[in-house]
Symmetry: C2
Subunit: 242 residues, 2 copies
């Protein structure tokens, strides 16, 4: 199974100003694609931190996805840091200028210095188009560099997943049990011991004073999932399942 | 300034099943306390990964906050991994049993093996009470180990922040400008060059087709903040500020 990590770049996430939703959006898509998301790291807009974290993750994982820091302002330093990280020159590329220009009324005439910053792409990197803003992300080695604004990030993800090979996706079945987690956890452990291959997660919830647990079974084999699901269903004898 | 990192532990976050909100909740409180949040890491329920990440972060930062994996089920392995990480025995502690028992109708008589798992605390660690579930978190060295369920996590955070010294908090002022980011970014860069001490973030937004930028200024000195804010206000000549 291919592995991945997501790097969310931005002081606004670490200060609590902005709730990151990009990693959750991409996490769901990676599950469908059968790619194992191993870690999410949220780091600041700091050149040397970006460089070292991207370098580590790029070496350790099959895919790395970054979000944030590729806009037109002084605090947008991701492209520069990643170009450095791979020892590649960052240049204003014609193909990126074309994409950007299409987004403005007067085309290239509207491209001031700030906007041209968004056309600075590492040499040899592949562009990631987006239909929202024109400004492209890029792919260098196994690193997918995308925007932080959720609408643009999501548009870029939609663009890249078309090209990503699907592995066997991990499927899930959820059993909802209206008992406290501590009343069922011993039986659950037996299931976990019996079916070591299946990932069995236990997530307590409270709903208007009613306590319950969602048991999430994950595996690539739907028949095996259904077998264990039905065994649990009989065992826990609960009518509420989803 | 003291530094911190947050470690979110849980397969359910990495699979996209659950949107993490705990790190955002705590991030806001750390800003108020004048503690610099340097990184958030989301990692799986995996013994050796928890151990190595907690070990790294505990060495590198003043405070480490973890969320998740201290419930009663087989996939709750955080307490064990962190005890290992600090080479400390994990034992069922009387003080933790007392806290747990208070939460059940028949007190200690209701404590089955699964529930007693939640009283397993590293020797010498300080307990973190919570008013929601009874089951405590704990503090070992500079690591604060808390629950994943948001209501319980938040109750635990409220418990620990009482004891945390406040440093000079980082204050912020936000200027809302209804122009495209690329139209103001050169002037913004001049401000960033002129006031290197101040963190100046630029966050584009789109609201019913209107494009704008929120400029967030951050510094501990309110007078300096106000000075730069007013200078920008005159310069950008915009009526909409917050």
């Amino acid at each position: 199974m291919k592995t991945a990590s997501i790097i969310i770049i931005g002081n606004e996430i670490l200060s609590g100003r902005t709730q990151d939703t990009n990693s959750n959006y991409l996490a769901k898509i990676l599950v469908e694609k059968g790619i194992s998301l191993e870690e999410v790291r949220v780091i600041p807009d700091d050149h040397s931190i970006i460089e070292s974290v991207v370098n580590n993750e790029s070496t350790a994982k099959d895919y790395v996805f970054t979000s944030g820091g590729i806009g037109p302002t002084h605090d947008d330093i991701t492209a520069e840091a990643i170009a450095n990280c791979f020892d590649t020159p960052l240049v204003i590329r014609d193909d990126a200028v074309e994409l950007l220009a299409m987004n403005y009324k007067n085309g290239k005439k509207d491209l001031n210095a700030a906007r041209l910053r968004m056309a600075r792409i590492p040499e040899g990197a592949k562009l990631i188009k987006n239909k929202i803003s024109g400004a492209p992300g890029f792919i260098i080695k196994n690193v997918f560099v995308m925007a932080g604004v959720p609408k643009i990030f999501e548009a870029m993800v939609q663009e890249i997943i078309l090209d990503m090979k699907s592995a066997t996706p991990v499927l899930s079945k959820t059993l909802k049990i209206y008992k406290k987690e501590s009343e069922i956890s011993e039986r659950l452990r037996n299931y976990a011991d019996k079916y070591k291959d299946i990932s069995i997660g236990s997530y307590p919830f409270e709903n208007s004073g009613l306590f319950g647990v969602e048991i999430v079974l994950r595996h690539t084999d739907l028949r095996l999932l259904n077998k264990v699901f039905n065994e649990m269903l009989g065992d826990f004898n609960e009518p509420n399942t989803s």
